[in-house]
Symmetry: C2
Subunit: 424 residues, 2 copies
Amino acid sequence: MSADLVQLVTALASRARAASLGLATAPTAAKNSALRQLADLIDAAHPALLAANAQDLASPEAAALTPAARDRLILTSARLQHLAESVREVAVLPDPVGDVLEDFTRPNGLHIRKLRVPIGVIGIIYEARPNVTIDCAVLCLKSGNACILRGGKECFHTNTALVALIAQALSASGLAVDAVQLVPTTDRAALLTLLKLDSLIHCIIPRGGESLIRFVAENSTIPVIKHYRGVCFVYVDAAADLAMAEAITVNAKASRPSACNAAEQLLVHQSIAGKFLPAVARALAAQKVSLRCDAASAAILAREKLPHSAATAADFTTEFLDYVIAVRVVDSLDAAIATINRDSSNHSDAIVTANAAAARRFLAEVDSATVYWNASTRFTDGFEFGYGAEIGISTDRLHARGPMGLRELCTHKFVIEGTGQVRG
Amino acid sequence: MSADLVQLVTALASRARAASLGLATAPTAAKNSALRQLADLIDAAHPALLAANAQDLASPEAAALTPAARDRLILTSARLQHLAESVREVAVLPDPVGDVLEDFTRPNGLHIRKLRVPIGVIGIIYEARPNVTIDCAVLCLKSGNACILRGGKECFHTNTALVALIAQALSASGLAVDAVQLVPTTDRAALLTLLKLDSLIHCIIPRGGESLIRFVAENSTIPVIKHYRGVCFVYVDAAADLAMAEAITVNAKASRPSACNAAEQLLVHQSIAGKFLPAVARALAAQKVSLRCDAASAAILAREKLPHSAATAADFTTEFLDYVIAVRVVDSLDAAIATINRDSSNHSDAIVTANAAAARRFLAEVDSATVYWNASTRFTDGFEFGYGAEIGISTDRLHARGPMGLRELCTHKFVIEGTGQVRG
């Protein structure tokens, strides 16, 4: 790659790092003012934003997108209004910076406080979704982090227009405009340079499909917080309330199959399979969900002449993201737990049972970020948790696991006050 | 590399992963029993351990070590007694697993708890230090994590003997012996395989010099928690108590220069430099510390005919780990903060001042893991913080930052109890 590109990306990251130092101690009022101004600027700039978006939509890159991906690229006035509203919602959330996490005094008199502080500079690597530009910039800003945005090439003009508004809002609120920066090229070599700048950038969050996330994780020397999708399970126990189990299974699968917290896998205890499976199969069929079954579940559905197909081995670890669910009969709670710990992606898994002892074992022994007793897996979500915001759902175990809000965009520092203490 | 080696390392990691699931919910009493038995086994095995250690010390690899590195490899009966005692100390620490971090009920009735749980499988990559084998295995065990130990080849026989004792202690306490595993080869290809097993291993902690840590960070697709060393600063403000400043500077530099929390850099406000620098130079000289000075500080020391040398530009960002300190005069608090944020490693930095407003600005604006007001940087340590244990001092910002004890070896899970809730 060219030396110019290396220099450009390094200079951009250096400016973001410098801006991050000021932003880390910026008053909450200034950050909220910038957010409110940004919302107003978005409201006032519909024509310019829609024109930039039209330019992107007319590009050959946009023509190559799938219909679903193209839809996510499209801005409309209604979507812009919604975007501005989401910015205003972040403005009223509590500022996480400065929270006291620990506060204690040692026998030698040292007063130690562990305080929540911004991480520093966060790199966001994403695809052709203009809403990610605003969502991520806004959450980073509120949590006192500078951010470097590297969006997809299909979205470049829209992103440039949006980031110009962010710069205007920052400037009008007395904050450094370098705090939010768009990488001005979608050259992959520039991305590779960025991912090695571990002395200037402190955290990388890729937002997109699994291949993007894997590429980033494999090429970054900066810590990456990953948001892979989910292979989520619902286990219907011997002691389940079957009407509740049916409602939960249908909701977990069919309320939004494209979500990472949607169920992909159903496990049914053998003692209730003969009764439960035909009922849930009918309810799922009514939602146009097709069933891929192991031999035991297939036999039950075949007896009742209910539609289903035989699952392949791969189906039992697949994230369909579609109106498809894989079904297995298990002979015990132990088998259910072992199956989930082997085949799930440790994202969100549920048990339906009236047996509290079985539920407690499931909740303790299933090694997933979120485990449910008698509720749909679909609640794994920062808004549903009441966090008021969500930058993603971490499938990592370090730093953030599960829904990731403003607090998870922070680290901490130890602030220690003494009276001249030295170590013996 | 050979397919055999890949298979061997993968099988070992699979066994560790399986063991981690059981260990995650193991009773505190069983873990503590294993720790106490391990301490007793170490006490009883001095002859065998010293024989294994002698075999390592006689190897050509050990002969190539520096005297300091060779010293760290050597076991003695006194060191083994100390090691057993450190294991007993971990046994009496509180178990971090199960701590309730959040507990709330949503308007829809969902009861959400965020509980502290083990990370899972932790890989420890280290050099020729047998105490790391015990320290890390013991802290992982207490925090409910399985661990995979990959020590240096100079230490292989000693490590093998130690891990055999750990297996005996695990087995005697009813815990899976696979919970602590030594990679049975020090082949670098085996290490490279290990660092890509991101579906079986959840966290890598390299313990050793910067080149080892960089190698691991660059080659791992598993999240790495890094423990780089420190370029720590002491800033003596215009309003400092000069006797206190002298005591803190001498302690921060000379009490243990090889430690990562030792000061390497001294900044002195110009208004007190003429008085403070000669005094601190004499006190440091008494500890055999040599001073590498900028022009302003050199001029002051030259006037008093005190020994010093001219610093190079590199000295101002160097971790000497030796009886050497770099010295600069700054003309303001702002300059001190900017210098530290540019040149320090963001590990531990101190201000000495009687001016509370200056101190507050320093504590807020210096972007380091640990910031001190009127105390030595040498207190950055898990034991000094009262954490009872320390697996290292993280220089990362994600997950753990600063001293890393048992709690930092844990992640969390969300445990959600409902009454049939589905998402609308």
